[in-house]
């Protein structure tokens, strides 16, 4: 983790502070008032969730609010408080906070707007509030948000809508936006989803999404965490929280909205163009096993599936459906989304044939045909057969949700609930098309022991794709040779510090070559020459066709200056090329270190391997196909450093052109072990150089069977 003892924005909020905030004993609602919608709502929620802690209403004008006696100030509360929920407008917040602190509060929830979200003066006002809080060791949640609920302890300090489900559950929700959180809890209530916590973080003056995720990962009632975020303010804290959640087998599902500023890009290195901010975040999330979704509905549905089901024994999905159309749609969408529906063993097929009509085909997804509605044994025997397939870790059942007076559908639920419980393979029921989950469905679900009910085929496939891929990632994680997440940095053996020659600007190719070679990157041979005659004799010594390149610390992209001459044969060609390069350098006003003479290489594949710095997430490794095609095809894979061999191997498989490495139309397969070593050498060099460099890049890295050789190298700082 970045060392940031002095920078409170980069360290996690301490667990005991978070505990004081989210599980206070005595709370004050400051600014309570009949006229204030948020006051009414906060008090109603307090009552709805069960009034788990003592609450005092603070109002210095009315003796009673919401039917309860008030106190004029926090300091007037006998016995004091430990947390204050400030509904006061922005201008009255500081005074209210002072009062709350005097009354003993060590945590405060600040609802108001008018802070950093308005820019300029607002940023300053917010900083002053934080300074005031920090001086008194008080933790602030917000401002500009809608508070939180802690449902297992029946604590509410929030302005969320009254459709918030009050029965506690196992999904925690963290949202930067209060408005989005309100939509999310309303949708959750319509889908039978229950929460352990809902936390809105707003402007994140002190408590960020990363802090909340870290806290919730340790909460025993929370089995999965859903996150809506527009920015991730403490990247290292977030990654550590993700690591911990993985360790505990809890999934994090995120909807990351809005493109923030592009990562600081390096004009001098082509790698820069591959590293858009969102691509880096995407890479980090993949590295850390965080499930990324694209819609608010999927955030709730995928989060709830993960919370109810947890890690799977296997990544395959088995589906039984009353509708053949749904089977086709599942198969199509499953293929789009990377879900595996394992094909059935002969034994399972035989068992299924016994329960299906003669014309039906035993396959996965399985059309059980309409007969299953009349005969729940079809569900029971079908699920038992599927559960015996070791590659199936999750069972989906497509059927309409029951309404009162449809005993057939209740029977289906019972059959699914009982059989899944008996076999130990989790089962989920969902209808073909979006349906709201009625109270009746919830009752039948609970009574039948069905683990989870989802709104539709579409939501199921999207959520199951996330759950199965995460389960696979979690299993692979334990067996990895390299590192996953921040903590494993040591696994690389903390590369020793490397010093660069000269100072500032790009290194000349000759200098970059020396650094790369020392780091274990195989470079194409090259001789630096200072005259036409030396060039000719170097070329003769190499034999065959050669390449001449301008060598200067003043030029990052020599091709653009005409500084590269390819495929030269014979003394005349070499002499003429040498002269041209020198002339071009002169006319461009470039101070030459000399001219490099290298053998001409042909054939094979070209890769780009580069490391650049992302302002938020640190050094990012990019591996891409293509030489000159890099920028066009954008066939690249990214990882935040550090990485291990398995990460690099995984990057290679993510490339669309990966098959090319396995040998193509008669070319020899590339030695992937060696290729991984070379890529790791570049990554480790970049780490060793650390802040001293902007970027390290090998482009192209030529690979052809077991020949792996860097044809050019660039180091910028």
């Amino acid at each position: 983790m970045t060392s940031t003892i002095d920078d409170p924005t980069m360290t996690p909020v301490r667990a005991e502070s978070m505990r004081r905030l989210f599980s206070p004993s005595r709370m004050a609602l400051v600014g309570a008032s009949e006229k204030n919608l948020f006051s009414r709502r906060a008090f109603q929620q307090y009552q709805r969730v069960g009034a788990g802690r003592e609450l005092f209403l603070v109002n210095n004008r009315s003796a009673q609010v919401h039917g309860v006696d008030t106190v004029p100030t926090c300091t007037a509360i006998t016995g004091g408080i430990d947390c204050a929920y400030l509904l006061t407008p922005q201008h009255a917040t500081s005074a209210a906070l002072t009062d709350a602190i005097e009354a003993g509060a060590r945590a405060a929830i600040v609802l108001s707007q008018g802070w950093a979200e308005q820019g300029g003066e607002g940023v300053k006002r917010q900083q002053e509030l934080v300074d005031q809080a920090r001086a008194a060791d008080v933790l602030l949640l917000g401002p500009n948000h809608l508070g939180f609920v802690n449902l297992w302890e029946r604590i509410a300090a929030c302005g969320l809508g009254l459709d918030l489900p009050v029965e506690p559950g196992h999904l925690a929700l963290v949202s930067q936006s209060g408005a989005v959180a309100s939509s999310l809890v309303g949708y959750a209530s319509r889908q039978g989803v229950r929460f352990s916590y809902v936390i809105t973080t707003g402007n994140e003056a002190m408590v960020t999404v990363a802090d909340a995720v870290g806290y919730l990962a340790e909460d025993e009632n929370t089995k999965a965490i859903a996150v809506f975020a527009e920015t991730i303010r403490k990247p290292a804290v977030f990654r550590e929280a993700a690591r911990r959640a993985a360790e505990l087998g809890k999934a994090i599902v995120i909807l990351k909205a809005g493109s923030s500023e592009l990562a600081a890009q390096t004009a001098a290195a082509h790698t820069g163009a591959l590293v858009g901010d969102d691509k880096v975040i995407d890479a980090v999330l993949r590295q850390d096993g965080v499930i990324r979704v694209k819609s608010v509905e999927d955030l709730i549905c995928t989060g709830a599936l993960c919370a109810e089901i947890g890690p799977l024994r296997a990544e395959g999905v088995g589906v039984l459906s009353v509708s053949g159309g749904a089977c086709d749609l599942l198969a199509d969408r499953g293929q789009d989304l990377g879900i595996t529906f394992p094909s059935l063993s002969a034994r399972t097929s035989a068992r299924l044939e016994e329960i299906l009509p003669a014309y039906a085909h035993p396959q996965n997804p399985l059309d059980v045909t309409g007969g299953a509605l009349a005969n729940p044994d079809v569900w029971r025997k079908g699920i038992e057969a599927f559960a015996d397939e070791p590659e199936i870790g999750l069972i989906g059942v497509v059927t309409s949700l029951p309404t009162a007076g449809e005993p057939q559908r209740d029977d289906t639920f019972r059959a699914v609930g009982e059989t899944c419980a008996a076999t130990g393979v989790p089962g989920v029921i969902f209808p073909q098309i979006d349906q709201v989950q009625s109270d009746y469905v919830n009752e039948v679900k609970v009574a039948s022991g069905v683990q989870h009910v989802m709104p539709s085929v579409e939501r199921f496939v999207l959520a199951a794709a996330g759950l199965t891929q995460w389960s696979g990632w979690l299993r692979a994680r334990s067996g990895r040779t390299g590192v996953a997440g921040v903590a494993g940095a040591e696994a690389l053996g903390s590369p020793a510090r490397v010093r660069l020659p000269g100072q500032g600007g790009p290194l000349s190719e000759q200098d970059a070559r020396a650094v790369m070679t020392a780091a274990g990157v195989p470079m194409v041979p090259a001789e630096l020459v200072g005259s036409r005659a030396e060039a000719v004799s170097a070329a003769a010594a190499l034999g065959g066709s050669v390449v001449l390149k301008m060598c200067s610390g003043e030029v990052a992209h020599k091709t653009e200056l005409g500084g590269v001459e390819l495929d030269l044969e014979g003394p005349e060609a070499v002499s003429a090329a040498y002269d041209r390069i020198v002339a071009r350098a002169t006319s461009a006003g470039v101070r030459l270190d000399g001219v490099l003479v290298s053998p001409m290489r042909r054939g094979g594949l070209e890769l780009l391997v580069g490391v650049t710095r992302d302002a938020e997430w640190g050094q990012v490794l990019a591996v891409a196909f293509g030489g000159a095609l890099v920028e066009v095809l954008q066939d690249s894979a990214l990882r935040v450093l550090p990485v291990g061999a398995d990460d690099v191997r995984e990057m290679l498989t993510e490339l669309r052109g990966h098959r090319l490495l396995g040998g193509f139309r008669g070319s020899a397969p590339v030695d992937e072990d060696r290729l991984v070593e070379v890529i790791l050498a570049v990554a480790e060099l970049a780490q060793a150089l650390g802040d001293e460099i902007e970027s390290v890049e090998v482009n192209p890295l030529r690979v052809s069977g077991d020949e792996i050789e860097a044809l050019d190298a660039l180091i910028t700082r």
Copy 2:
């Protein structure tokens, strides 16, 4: 269109026959019975939709069914019938049909299962039923489906669920699957979507999806058509229907489920590997402007948006939202899905600044902030400003849907409805997260004149992507130089028939070269030589480095036999290569026509241009990047022939590597006009050869600035 007078499966059902089926005067429900769920449902639907036509219940055992007097047979109906809805089981269908025909029926709806869907004998039984019907000029709908409803004429002959909305609307729904149709109409009713027709086609013994779409395109109450299909049985009829719908400005939205067999592939031509069945269908749908969706929910939501809004004046979308989070999500998803949110002119920004809080930013999507709920003028002025932007053709408004007792949200609806009507730019309201459309919302919508309400941001972006892209396609269509759809085949000037030399098997490269050259495809020079000496002298005449290639009608892929020798310079190299090629041909048992000598080309880009035959859709043109990388990168674009210049130009822009053609890192831009001509020449040659060939392929077509030259050609038959 394929000439298939003798093949009734390839001709469209005549409009007057369809009219007899879907708008009969007197219908019989044959097999009506209290005990039969489908009978009860059919009768209830008949009553629910308004009993627009006379209906007789046929039962030979009970004098009354569903409270109505029955007749024992159709022939017992005084005055006869013109359409029969047969609920009889499979084994009793033929007799029931005979009775119906005798009573005058010229159309019949066959509900039962037990036909072609069960294979084997079932296929035979279905054919017998069709023969019986055809002999009496009777049109059959089904079997194995759930009938149809015609809502404007209040005619129902269906087994769809009783949540089918009975008020007529402008979206027609066609579904092969009855079960899926049932789900779809239930969802539609929850989302306030209304239908003109719902038609299920089942096994499509006579009436296919293509026939239904063609019929509905001409229906004046139908403004858009939603289709759920697993196969498209009459490709040419479907394309003609799509052409007609486009002509009338009616969108077709399709959910194509299930992957049918891969298109008949040509092992001898690499193009084959690019032409999977689903890719061809995807290309056809794009060519014909059919909007393809991926989920059942989107089928309804996109269909309904198109039906209510119709073609747009411009493809840009303007959004006003009470939630900043929704703006971010819209921008993110819009980018994923190809929606344009035009940026605002300075004038519009200034107008918006007047109505927004000081800290808010005028942009699109626009966060109007919570203030708009209290002040509907924000909506009015905001929409007026957006409507003055000529690039905006559709306005979206994000706000929660109203419930009774929330007058603020009613005001929002009124402001949106009135302002959109006044400006003439259509407006759609939708909440941030999935919500069902209550009866109250429907009332408010109608009262306020809001054109359309959708369930969520996510459904809106998916539907708006379809509508805007279709609107753009429709506009471009009128100005195209080439052809769109089947009817325009003449536009190419019906290429004259070309005869190929020899018979059967692939052509030798020399023969293929001659055919290509005659067709206007520029081929690299080549001389066919029959001896070492001829090879040497041909090489000397060309000068520089040469290529030698095995030439034989017995070899399609000469590289695999070692039949290509590259980069040969000097008599010795040429002689040796000649000998090696002859030796390899001999040892492989290949009869040589000779050896081709061509100049060696370097640099530039390589394309593949090929035409293969798809069993369903006919000749398919593929354009791809890559030489040897073709199969790995799969960067290809497909079109069904015939195509025009604009189609080919569009194909080039679909390639990921398209930017390369514009010149890359100093290389000259490719002459795209010339490239299009050459690709069209290949396409026209394939059309002219017609059934005589299996495939025509140029691979690689080398392009470098204005040099465009085919380096190899393959014609197989």
